[in-house]
């Protein structure tokens, strides 16, 4: 018994289009939701063209490029959506293609899971799909691999097209406030330590959320309860969730410790998750929503640190006041529906110095989506703003020592150790193996 994939009609049209272009083999990603009984494919997107000339070995897709694309796309998927697999449109021999696809799908899974701060659960589906479309014969070959098993072999799977797959999916969402304060270690090398500290602190926050009590529409539901709770099926539902937390039992350190400063993240993130319409369970909704909250904050923090690296110092959106405190705005979340009339959206992050056109460009490049400004939902979060008046919170230290101006360690570190930090940032959220 293989897996069954229920696929939006639109995807068929998209794959056909890829067959018609003649620039060579096309690879891409399949995006949707898994459930224990079947998988739903909501959209597909081709791997974007590389800027450098493609004089490389013609027929096989660039593995690194495909996985990097998958990593970026994964950041743009709210809760409930994930990269389900990889497709290739090529007239190369099926057996060879299958081998390539297998390599790709494992590499994609490894990279995406290494970025996560939450651990996958026992009941998470670990099958990923590979699809081979032959443009000449228009034949589609669909197989699955179990990415938890390195020795897994291809299993057959059903690929069925259907219309309106996600048009009546449920949405659960909430606005989670974040207030994390962490000490920096007691030595002056700045950014590397900020990254490490942040990772630990966000891990603690993620743990708090994972054990948080979740209320859906104001009630605490039993884990096995159905989300719709007796209401008509196939009617779109939106639910709002509440999360109740207590401080993390494991703490970094007790008492008073020396430190090299502090870093804090404070504000709110809008978190949302989509659930298929076939009797979704409350427990699933809670899990997907919490994962989305953790992912969205982690992604943004990582994006900020990457941005700081590339811009070589204080970014446009930062300000430094006389108390040696630097403040950076994390990007805010913008949503775009996958299909005009459906509830399911993808998202992107817009920095304060960007306009909506940049968002539209990224949606086109990463997800091959043609969106217009009017389609974008920008009102779930308000962009962060650094207020000059915030300085009042900081302690005014009257000792002479503090009034000496201190060098900006951050800038100094940036100038001399860019290469090192580049590695540090890319390893930012790798789980310890």
């Amino acid at each position: 018994m293989g897996r069954t994939y229920i696929v939006e009609d639109v995807v068929e049209g998209y794959l056909t289009k890829q067959c018609e272009q003649t620039a060579g083999p096309v690879s891409g990603l399949l995006i949707g939701q898994s459930s224990t009984q079947r998988e739903y494919v909501v959209t597909a997107t081709r791997t974007p063209q590389r800027e450098e000339s493609t004089a490389s070995g013609g027929n096989s897709p660039d593995k690194e490029w495909v996985t990097e694309h998958a990593r970026q796309v994964s950041r743009m998927l709210p809760g409930g959506l994930s990269v389900l697999g990889v497709f290739i449109v090529t007239d190369t021999d099926a057996k060879d293609t299958l081998t390539t696809l297998r390599q790709l799908v494992f590499a994609v899974e490894n990279l995406i899971s290494s970025e996560r701060l939450w651990t996958s659960a026992e009941d998470d589906v670990s099958d990923r799909v590979v699809l081979h479309v032959n443009p000449k014969t228009r034949k589609t070959l669909c197989r699955t691999f179990d990415v938890k098993d390195p020795k897994s072999v291809a299993k057959p799977a059903d690929w069925k097209y259907q219309s309106g797959v996600c048009s009546s999916w449920s949405t659960v969402s909430c606005c989670v406030s974040v207030d994390v304060l962490l000490p920096l270690p007691d030595n002056p090398t700045a950014t590397e330590d900020t990254a490490k500290c942040l990772k630990e602190g966000l891990r603690g926050w993620a743990h708090q959320l994972e054990s948080a009590v979740c209320l859906i529409d104001g009630r605490r539901l039993a884990a096995d309860a159905e989300l719709a709770g007796g209401q008509k099926r196939n009617v779109r539902q939106t639910y709002s969730a509440q999360l109740l937390i207590t401080p993390d039992e494991r703490r970094l350190a007790e008492g008073v410790q020396r430190c090299g400063g502090s870093v804090s993240v404070s504000g709110a993130v809008y978190s949302t998750a989509y659930l298929h319409s076939n009797k979704p369970k409350a427990r699933q909704a809670e899990k997907l929503l919490k994962r989305d909250a953790v992912s969205t904050l982690t992604t943004r923090a990582q994006m900020l640190l990457e941005e700081l690296l590339t811009s070589g110092g204080a970014s446009e959106g930062s300000s430094r006041d006389e108390h040696q405190r630097e403040q950076f705005c994390l990007p805010h979340r913008v949503f775009c529906p996958v299909e005009a009339s459906g509830p399911v959206c993808v998202c992107d992050y817009r920095f304060s110095d960007e306009g909506l056109s940049e968002v539209i460009d990224r949606l086109k490049e990463m997800l091959d989506m043609d969106a217009a400004e009017k389609d974008l939902d920008i009102r779930r979060e308000t962009p962060a703003e650094v207020l000059e008046g915030d300085a009042a919170d900081e302690p005014t230290v009257e000792t002479a020592e503090a009034l000496q101006s201190k060098r900006n360690y951050f800038g100094a570190a940036m100038a001399t150790t860019v290469a090192l930090l580049a590695t540090a940032a890319s390893m930012l959220y790798l789980n310890d193996v």
Binding site: L181, R220, V256, C259, G260, Y270, Q324, C329, L330, V397
Partner: protein, 445 residues
């Protein structure tokens, strides 16, 4: 002087809220004035958190959740704020041991002679109504100090009969805020340099009508250093100076709360008293723990009965707050006897039996307690000592060790009739070799 150790249910239920509150702040200097200012400011933040709409109290073992600062909003909505507090009890599932100590199957809480406690957990709601501003990351690079700890909030309010949920919880919130103020005082008082002592709330049961009282002590500071504070409390509550009420050992033990050390406390309480013509019952006062053969991985089967009886007596002194010394192990007891010159050094580690005289010597040596030995040459003579035993339980209230021949026991009380002279003894048997199971222990009796 009798100190009741259980609350009657004449008054309403007890609301007890517990939860950790995270306390974190960045100190740019360890200058005392600055530290106090920052600590005070952080406490202000905690107080406003507790008074905010994000403060949530969840009822343990139940789906009931209460927002005390949102006009006392409750979910499930079947419960309204104007309902009596006791209604919450109907929503609590419990399959633990009931106050009498016997295991019961899953059943709703039944009426018992002890007051009911509604346990609540303090939590914060992390979600708010949007749209809200995206996060800001702040960095301060400066050689400084960071203070991070968690305060164990533990707040109790005794409701009056038929008090509404709204009123009770508004009082509970006030009590929580008050506790934070007390914690602030203790923290500021005991912060020196870079050490911080965590303020720890403890509950003490005072004679009616004062009832339960909560005091915040700095954690880790032994009772001996808190004498001034206790004197003040005794004055404040008009309590006599010769009976301990506020030592750590006097902390009120809530019903259904397990003891951390695993020993049974006062197992005799579940037994029914014998009836004698014109008889009265005279029992040990206060609490003791049950010590018997084979505990603490010590195989003393056959020789350790007097040692165990001694341990039970020592536990009484510790739990009433007279001494801080933990109950002595067999080796410690033996060493004490060597130290007073009663036994040779080879005694330590042996399996030699001890008698009443030795027990008296050890009590004196280790606890500084003097005791009286009463001789009876035959078991039948015991009956004539009824009056003396009754008097002992009335005035001193400690357990009595009885040793004779090759056996030792502990007497916990007598039922004695002044007119008929009939007497029954309540015995705690140190020869028991089983586990700490109240059911098994009392059945054997």
């Amino acid at each position: 002087m009798v100190v009741s150790d259980s609350l009657s249910s004449d008054r309403g239920t007890i609301l007890r809220v517990r939860g950790p509150l995270e306390f974190k702040c960045h100190l740019v200097s360890t200058d005392a004035r600055h530290m106090l200012k920052v600590i005070s400011r952080t406490f202000e933040t905690l107080k406003s958190q507790v008074k905010s709409e994000s403060c949530v109290l969840t009822v343990c073992d139940s789906p009931v959740i209460i927002w005390p600062n949102k006009d006392v909003y409750i979910t499930p909505q079947e419960i309204t704020p104007n309902a009596p507090c006791d209604d919450i009890l109907k929503w609590i599932q419990s399959d633990e041991q009931d106050p009498a100590g016997l295991r019961s199957a899953k059943k709703k809480s039944k009426k018992s002679s002890a007051a009911s406690v509604i346990n609540l957990r303090l939590m914060m709601e992390a979600t708010k109504t949007g749209p809200l501003s995206a996060p800001i990351l702040s960095r301060t690079v400066q050689k400084s100090h960071f203070l991070s700890t968690t305060f164990p909030v533990d707040c109790v309010v005794r409701t009056t009969v038929n008090e509404t949920i709204k009123d009770a919880f508004e009082r509970l919130l006030k009590a929580l805020t008050h506790q934070l103020c007390e914690m602030e005082k203790v923290t500021l008082q005991h912060t020196k340099g870079t050490t911080l002592l965590v303020p720890e709330p403890l509950h003490f049961l005072l004679p009616e009508p004062k009832g339960l009282v909560t005091v915040v002590y700095p954690a880790g500071v032994p009772d001996s250093q808190l004498e001034a504070q206790r004197k003040e409390l005794h004055q404040q509550f008009e309590l006599p100076d010769d009976w301990p009420y506020f030592r750590r050992a006097n902390t009120y033990h809530f019903p259904n709360e397990p003891y951390k050390d695993g020993y049974l406390r006062n197992p005799h309480l579940v037994l029914t008293h014998p009836t004698l013509d014109n008889g009265k019952v005279y029992l040990v006062q206060g609490t003791y723990s049950y010590h018997h053969y084979m505990q603490d991985h010590t195989d003393d089967n056959g020789w350790g009965c007097a040692y165990r009886s001694l341990q039970t007596i020592c536990s009484w002194f510790q739990q009433q707050g007279y001494v801080e010394r933990a109950v002595p192990s067999h080796k410690e007891t033996q060493q004490a006897l060597v130290d007073v010159g009663d036994k040779k050094a080879s005694f330590v580690g042996s399996r030699q039996w001890i008698g009443s005289i030795e027990v008296q010597a050890v009590l004196n040596q280790l606890l500084g307690v003097t005791s009286k030995i009463m001789f009876v040459s035959q078991g039948s003579e015991l009956a004539s000592k009824g009056r003396e035993l009754a008097n002992h339980f009335l005035t001193e209230g400690t357990p009595i060790m009885i040793g004779g021949g090759v056996l030792a026991h502990t007497i916990l009380g007598v039922a004695w009739s002044e007119t008929s002279g009939q007497i029954r003894y309540l015995i705690l048997d140190p020869h028991y070799t089983g586990a700490e199971d109240l059911q098994v222990v009392t059945d054997k009796v």
